[in-house]
């Protein structure tokens, strides 16, 4: 009986030490280490009316391999790898948006399509709560959607901004909140890009003209 009580006390003290000191240790561990994030997500197919247009889509290498690297003073090195996830996001939206969206290996391979669409990555910015004194990790992405006719002549350049945020209070003290927060904010930014593209791209005059001609 005595042994059991002693064991219980030892266990309690150990738990207490853990509860009290682990947060301090985690703060040291995650406090200024930055984050290394590889963004992975599957954006659902948008529920939108399909446009009766056949388009070719060309993804250039800068979009496919994009990695953002930045050092924040007092907060460490940050690396956000977006490259591999962007192509499937755009493909999913264009597949839902157009009667047919054909992936092109080159800009010259657009025979039989009515327009060629080229998503261009322009910029990524992020902020962590310690910088903005808010409770959010935030990610801003700026894309540009270039529209060409089948002969390769530029018809339109449409800006596509996207924003995602993630509440730091959604992560426990044991979690690497910078990594998890930036991952979630990036995923939300990609969803925002997909949502904006689904809603507003059909209203671009040059796309609306193609629909009218179809």
């Amino acid at each position: 009986m005595m042994t059991r009580s002693t064991n219980a006390l030892t266990r309690t003290v150990t738990q207490g030490v853990r509860l009290g000191l682990v947060p301090i240790a985690m703060a040291f561990l995650f406090g200024c280490t930055g984050a290394n994030v590889v963004v992975e997500t599957v954006v659902p197919s948008p529920l939108v009316d399909r446009l009766p247009v056949r388009v070719g889509v060309f993804f250039d290498e800068s979009l496919k391999g994009y990695v953002h690297e930045e050092t924040l003073e007092d907060h460490g090195n940050f690396r956000i790898e977006l490259g591999s996830v962007q192509v499937p996001v755009f493909e999913r939206v264009f597949d839902a948006l157009f009667e047919e969206a054909v992936a092109l290996s080159t800009m010259e391979a657009g025979d039989g399509v009515e327009a060629i669409i080229v998503p261009v990555f322009e910029e990524l910015q992020f902020a962590i709560p310690a910088q903005t004194r808010s409770q959010f990790f935030e990610v801003w992405i700026k894309y540009r959607i270039d529209v060409y006719d089948p002969g390769g002549e530029l018809l339109a350049q449409w800006p596509l901004p996207a924003y995602g945020k993630s509440n730091e209070r959604n992560f426990g003290f044991m979690e690497d909140s910078k990594g998890s927060g930036l991952t979630e904010a990036s995923v939300r930014a990609l969803r925002d890009a997909a949502a904006r593209l689904s809603f507003y791209f059909p209203r671009v005059p040059e796309i609306a003209d193609l629909v009218e001609e179809a």
Binding site: A8, L9, T12, V13, Q15, G16, V17, L19, G20, L21, I24, V43, P44, S45, P46, L47, V48, D49, S134, Q135, F136, K165, N167, R169, N170, R188, R191, D192, A194, A195, R196, S198, F199
Partner: protein, 240 residues
């Protein structure tokens, strides 16, 4: 219209004895201390604007507002309300927030989610969206706003490494937490606002430390979650 007030947890009078409790807690470090939690008071209110009731195939979705730049409801809280309605209900089927927003993408993203029932009517007037909502059987949308904040932090706790590399802490910390949440219930089938349920909870947490820190945490958010989900379940299932 009917208002209902509920109170759970110890009374405010019990909480007013906090200074005495603080003194007792410092002397009571031991096995029992690990089992203590701070006192919490919670109040739940309901305003009904329309009849509800739920059919066998109807489902409910609990959603958080994501368009605001501050006081965003914690994801854990949304999951908690969703889980508690599912666990304790007899007949209320809950669809997860992620499953719902994915199935109607992109109509319930922060950029596009309807802010009132008029917006909702516009969204579900689109054949593709109406067909999908019908397919997944969603009858009620429960939008939750609000959060839990800490206030009145006091005290100091210092930890040092003493001889033999043994860590030791001494001091006393306390803080108050306040939860304030409101749920708006939309009837998707009728396109109306069926009512509101709100939950407020507050409590004080303590961490006394004599060598070992002993956190005695007031489960404020959990109390608000329990109060809100119990009332929501009753609201949805009741036909009055």
């Amino acid at each position: 219209m009917r208002d209902l007030y509920l109170r759970v947890g110890p009374s405010r009078a019990a909480c007013a004895r906090a200074p005495l409790l603080k003194a007792l807690l410092i002397g009571a470090i031991g096995l029992s201390a690990m089992l203590l939690s701070g006192c919490v008071t919670a109040t739940v209110q309901q305003v009904r604007e329309a009849h509800t009731g739920i059919g066998e195939d109807d489902r409910v979705v609990v959603l958080g507002r994501r368009h605001k730049s501050r006081n965003e409801t914690e994801t854990d809280f949304i999951h908690c309300v969703s889980d508690q309605i599912t666990k304790k209900s007899d007949g209320v089927k809950v669809m997860t927030e992620n499953e719902f927003v994915d199935s109607v993408f992109p109509w319930f993203e922060p950029l596009t989610a309807p802010l009132d029932v008029d917006d909702l009517t516009n969204v579900i007037s689109r054949p593709l969206v109406a067909e999908r909502i019908d397919e997944i059987g969603v009858r009620y949308l429960v939008w939750i706003e609000g959060d839990t904040v800490r206030s009145s932090e006091a005290g100091r706790l210092t930890c040092n490494i003493i001889s033999g590399a043994i860590p030791a802490c001494i001091g006393f910390l306390s803080w108050d937490s306040d939860s304030n949440y409101e749920a708006s219930i939309w009837d998707v089938k009728s396109g109306i606002h069926a009512g509101r349920v709100s939950a407020e909870a507050s409590g004080t947490s303590f961490v006394p430390a004599v060598v070992v820190p002993i956190p005695i945490i007031a489960q404020v958010r959990q109390s608000a979650c329990t109060g809100l989900s119990d009332q929501l379940r009753e609201f949805l299932a009741s036909e009055s």
